[in-house]
Each structure stands twice: as C-alpha cells, then as structure tokens.
Symmetry: C2
Subunit: 430 residues, 2 copies
C-alpha cells in the first residue's frame, strides 16, 4: 500500500517546531508493516495546501495529514479539504453535540472559535477525539483516503493508535497482528550490532530495527503475523537469541531507563547512594534526580570540581592528588570511599576525568576517565579511555559508564564491562 | 521565487535521524528573504527519488536536495539526477584531482568508493566542498535549478552559506544584503512577546521572529535591504527599541548562553562559585560544567538531596528544617551561606523546591521553589511558585531562575526578576 504523510503549519515548515509527530507516525506505521514512501511539509498558505492535497492524492492510497485543525484563522485544513473536494463546509451536528457535552462537563463556556472545529466537508467521516476539541476526519480525494489529524502530539498519537490504524487495517483487509519488543543495551557500537546479530535466523514474521539514543542503543523486534500465538513464540525465540549475544550489555527491556533500573534495584535492596563527580559535573546526579521517587535511595552528590573540593568535602588525601594526579585510579578510589563515608551510605560512585578541550597530556589524553564504585564490602576502580569526540560526549559516556558499573554490580555481574566505545586502561578491586 | 527542499535517506524519512538540516536551511533562507514553500522527504528507493525530482522540478524554481552523496551503494542522488536528465554518469576529472590532492595531504589512500563521489551527470556544475569528499553539484531540470548537497551537517552548512546562497543571489539578481541579530531573554512568556513589541514600528526592511528554547526565548531581528548602511541603522533602532521593552529580562546577544555569560562575568571579576542544589539535583552544576573553562571559577557543588546532606555537608541547622521545612526561604538562605562558607568562595547559589509529582502541600504545592544567592556582602533569598508543568520543567525553570539571580546581580540589577512564568511568593535581602 502506498502511504504518505503531509505535515502542515508555518512553524513546522520553518523548523521552529521539530516535527516529532511525523517521525513518530513513520515508526508506528513501520511497526504495523506499513512503509511510508514520502513526507511533504507545507505552511499555512491556501495555495500550497490545496496543491499538496491535490497532487499527493493522485499518487498515494492513504495519506495522514497532520495539523491545521485548531480554532484559529490560520487553521485551514478542513476548509482546503472541502475546496479540493468541490464541497462547502457544513456545521456537523454530531461534533457540535460532543463539544457542548465536553464544555458542560468541565464547566467552561463553548465559544464561537470552537464551533469552527465542527465545520467539515459534508462527505467527511468524523474521527473521534475524546481528549481534545478538534475532531479528526477522513475524506476520499482522487485515489486516496486522507486522514486529517490534530497537531497536538498527545491527541494525534491517541487518534492514530485508537482510531486510524484500526480503520486502515479494516478498510484494506489487513488481518495481521503487530507486536513490538524493545531491548536496550549499552556498550555496543551501532556499527557492530549488525554483525553481532547476523547469524540469528529471522522468520518472515519478524524484523529487527536499531535506534541509537547515545549512549544506549535500542533494538526493536517488530513482529507482524496472522497468528498471534505463533508470533509470540517466534518473537520470544528472537529475543532470547539477541539476549544471548548482547549478554551483559543488555540493560533493560521495554520502557524505562538505566536510571530507573538502578533506582528500582537500589530501593528493593534498601541501598543508599552518594556521588562524587568531577568531570561529569553533576550530570549523574541530574540524571538520577530526573526520575521521580529518587529521594528514596539517592542521598547526596558532591560535585568536587576543584582539588580543594575533593580534599575538603570528601577527604581525598592531598598527597594522592599530588602523586597520581586528580585523574587517576587512586583518586577515583579515594573519592568513592570518601563519598560513601561522608554521606553514610551503602554505595558510592565517583568519576574523575579529562573532558577537554584542554587539560590532556601524553600519558592521560583528553578522554581519559577514572571511575570508582564503593559497595559495602569492596571498592571497584577502573580507568578507561573514551574517544576524543568532544567535551559533551566524553562526559555523557562517562556518566553512563559509572551508572553501568553500579547496574552490573546490582545484577551480580563483574562491575567492569567491555565497551566498544572505550579502551580499558586498568581495573582493580580492593 | 518558488523554493523547495528535498531531504533524502531512509533514516531521515523514518525519523530515526531528526532532520535538523532542513530546519536549519529553512531558517537560513528566511534570513535571506527567501521563503520555502514545501519540503519533501523520501527514502533511498530509486522510484521515489526519481518521482520527487521529476515532480518538484516542474513546480519550483530552486530546489535544495540534501543527502545521498556519500560513497556507499544506497547513496543514489547523482545516479537518479542523471536518470532524470536522460544522461549517464561520467567521472569528472576536476573532482578526482581534488580528491587525490585531499587524500595525499592527509596521507590516506584514495579508495574506489571515494571515486564514486566524482561520478556526476555531464551537465552538472560542480559545487566546491573544501571540508569533505562529496562535492555538491547543480543541475537544470525542467523549470528548476536543483542544488545537490551533502547530508553531513557541517559540510552542508558550509556549502549553503559559502557557495549556494551567493550563487542563487547572483543567478536571480538578488542584490539585497541580509543581516541577522539575535537577542536572548529569560522570563517573558512567548505569548506575551507579540504584545510587548507591538508598538515598535518596523521599517519594510526589518522582520522579527521568535524562537523558544525553554527556558529562554530568542528574538531574531532579520534585515534585508539594498543598502547595508541604512540597514544597520534601521536594525540598531529596532534592537534598541526591543532592548528598552525587554529591559532587564534581556540576557545576551548573539551566540552564547546564560551559563557562558555568567562564566565570563565571574572570571573577569575573579569571583568563585559554589552550588547547593536540592530539587535541581545537579542540573545547575551540569549546565555550568558543560561550558569549557568552567573550572576557572566553579569550585564545587553540593547536591544536598536529603535533609542529612543539607545538615552535614553545608551546615544547615536542623532546627531550621524542622521549623520551616526543607523547602523554605530560611533553608535556602542557610544552604547558600553554608555552601559559600564550606567551599570558601565569593558566591554561592542554592535551590530547594517541590518538583513533584509527590510531596506538595496546600501551603507549598508542587512548583514551590526557594532560591538563595550569597554574595560577599549580602544574601538574597526568594521563594517562587512555578506552574505544575511536570517535574522536568519545574526543575528546568528553577535552574534558570537561580542562574538568572546571579546574572542579574553580576550586571548590577536587582537580583529578583519578574518572570511571566512564575509567581513571586516572597523576597528578602539580608
């Protein structure tokens, strides 16, 4: 089936708003086995809207049109759809009643602008929107079915999944079921995943997709079949094969994050955490606190950016810094021990590194980072070298490696992982 | 002039890669007075590429085609351009020589894949790319000039500004000069800017544009005129009028950031800074350390997430927390004083608030945040209420307000700003 997207709106066209809706819907359609062949973006000008509806409806069978259903004068989608059809807009009773109901419930007054949202081409089929005032609608124009959808992401996503995807499947007699599993891993380069998973034989019903969210990578297992039962078995088999190959670099499945995984595991075990961050500069704390409920295990963080801070706030011996330098396994160890003791917690993580652009030496070039993980009975220390991909990426990778040490330890694994992106300089457990 | 964009590539079409190039180029063209009327996105399939080149070249006068110039088999732009023209690809000596030169200089060996990048339609005009191995090229197809450009953002941007924009201006006899000034402000709601600046009379040569980068807003002053001299005067007048209205909510002009402004001012005055963060949880430290060179003034940060951390790490009196609660002007003041004293610095910022989703009360609902700024002679404390727009946005706004207090103080302004987004509960200077 030939399926296309039309995004509308001046701010989308000019790039003021990043068009996340169309990325999202392309992926949704792909997960349902429907491949988009073109996306067109136009502004709010009548002639451009009319041209894109007329032209694309002669080329595609299904078109998702996004945006332009709001109550303001530059929301023109319904008007131009009517013009393309050679019809005049009419006020549709069904939607006026829904609007009246909606406004009465919330105690607000229905204003004339909202009534504009019930003006549709007479031949349009209304598509329900229980979470907003703009109804969607579907028209047949030339060779295509055009589905008009609201720009508000929450309303758009609900309408696509609950109304439009089932409608397309029904109209085009697509009897397949779709299932999606998402595995997230850390430490594998995207360029190596293909090779790593190449020997997994995929049934015709299952496709793989990768998506990098630096520093983690998502492996999507997309299943599409007429039999839900067989599909589940087949997808489980593929997921098991992936897990076997990705092994300890797999961090979680489904929604969530490395930070959420750590939070859940720490709270379940009654552990508490402190941080001593130098080059990451608060990035790890910020990522942990981002997750609601983090106060149940995250006790405090020290951003010990200067040597004095390392010495005074968490008791790093000055002679260690003098002898080994602030970026050293010895100082990382002392930082983790110091944070653990000062905060009176069960676990502490430390990071100290050369994030650049200045400050590198021949022995410790930009990208050299030392990590410490203090647990109730041991301290694990490692020094890695990240590629010099710039300050921000070095810091981002460092934060992820530190958290991954903790994740691995919590899962009973060796805290020292092998990461494609970094070279291990040294490891030590004391 | 009718100008369009064509973006190519499976990963751009599927939304795996956010198409920042086309947003960027739309804005660049707008700054030069050229308005894009449509953007089309297609994957790497031959028939889709051919169709989009054929169709759009009958509608537009200028088309910027982005992507597909790389050395791999799915880089098809040149091949399909030749097909559309009814030509066969030929190896272009000019570019082979440039490649040989480039590779010799860097001591690498030219491989056959790179020679593919010199295969162009015979009628194409080569566009120089001094920073990559893919040359750009221009063809005349149907009614349009098609400019083919590389997908690598750095190469694309250089080619657009240095080669293609001047070429378009020359060919279409556009003799105007373009100037852009960007003013960044904090604390004004985007919805209010229009009203605030409405009475500024704009000459025909000057346009305004707004762009929100939460929590700051950028005001773009775009000038377009035949006389550079008059334009500068006119733009200066508009900029002055905007500065007058935005007043103390203006934070900087041009490139940069609030964090960079603060860093420059702190270093110039030999000041040093410590942080005591509760609800922002390291976000402020992270933003400051993001700027290279921050170690010259940023001494350390305390992420005092628990009450014990506030008491033990920076000496907040426990009875203050007991009497007023951890989110209070009193505790914010003690946190700022404590961080200043503990770190031995000239300045300290503190933040303590209810970021939610849990933890709010009737007196202190989610969104209530207290701030402290300790300077060598005074401590400024304020308590604000941010709208409950979710944990992340509350924390983002809080980090910006804290930094803005410091920015205002460094600029000799009252440290307490009036922000459209927040309601001031109390302010105090001791």
């Amino acid at each position: 089936m030939k399926i296309e997207i039309i995004s509308t709106g001046e701010e989308v066209l000019s790039g003021q708003i990043t068009d996340t809706n169309s990325s999202w819907v392309c992926q949704l359609l792909e997960e349902h086995g429907l491949q988009v062949s073109r996306r067109s973006t136009v502004g709010d000008r009548r002639e451009d809207l009319l041209a894109v509806f007329q032209e694309r409806s002669q080329k595609a069978e299904v078109i998702i049109v996004n945006g332009g259903l709001g109550p303001t004068v530059d929301d023109l989608s319904a008007e131009i759809a009517a013009q393309a059809l050679g019809e005049s807009l009419v006020r549709r009773r069904e939607w006026v009643e829904r609007l009246e109901e909606m406004f009465e419930k919330s105690g607000r007054k229905l204003n004339p602008e909202n009534l504009k949202q019930a003006m549709l081409p007479p031949s349009a089929e209304i598509i329900d929107n229980p979470v907003g005032t703009a109804c969607g609608f579907m028209i047949q124009l030339n060779d295509a079915l055009l589905y008009f959808t609201p720009g508000v992401p929450y309303e758009f996503k609900r309408m696509m999944t609950h109304e439009i995807i089932p409608d397309i499947k029904k109209r085009f007699h697509i009897e397949t079921v779709c299932r999606l599993r998402r595995l997230h891993c850390f430490g594998i380069a995207e360029s190596r995943l293909d090779g790593l998973l190449r020997d997994i034989s995929l049934p015709d019903t299952v496709k793989l997709g990768f998506r990098a969210h630096l520093p983690t990578i998502e492996i999507k297992i997309m299943g599409l079949s007429k039999s839900e039962e067989t599909l589940t078995v087949e997808m489980d088999r593929v997921a098991d094969a992936i897990r076997e190959r990705v092994a300890d670099r797999m961090i979680y499945e489904g929604d969530g994050s490395l930070q959420q995984e750590i939070q859940d595991a720490m709270i379940a075990r009654n552990h508490t955490l402190a941080l001593a961050e130098s080059c990451t500069g608060g990035m790890i704390a910020e990522q942990l606190v981002h997750v609601a409920g983090s106060s149940a295990y995250f006790e405090r963080g020290f951003v010990t950016y200067s040597n004095e801070a390392k010495i005074e706030s968490i008791g790093v011996p000055p002679e260690l810094i003098e002898r080994h330098g602030a970026v050293s396994a010895e100082v990382a160890e002392a930082m983790a021990r110091g944070a653990q003791k000062t905060a009176g917690v069960s676990h502490a993580l430390s990071v100290t590194g050369v994030a650049g652009p200045e400050g590198g030496s021949e022995e410790k070039p930009v990208g050299t980072v030392a990590f410490g993980l203090a647990t109730p009975d041991k301290v694990h220390v490692q020094m890695l070298r990240a590629p010099n991909w710039g300050r921000t990426r070095i810091r981002t990778i460092s934060a992820a490696v530190a958290l991954d040490m903790l994740r691995r330890d919590l899962q009973g694994l060796d805290p020292f992982g092998h990461y494609d992106l970094t070279r291990t300089v040294s490891t030590k457990t004391v």
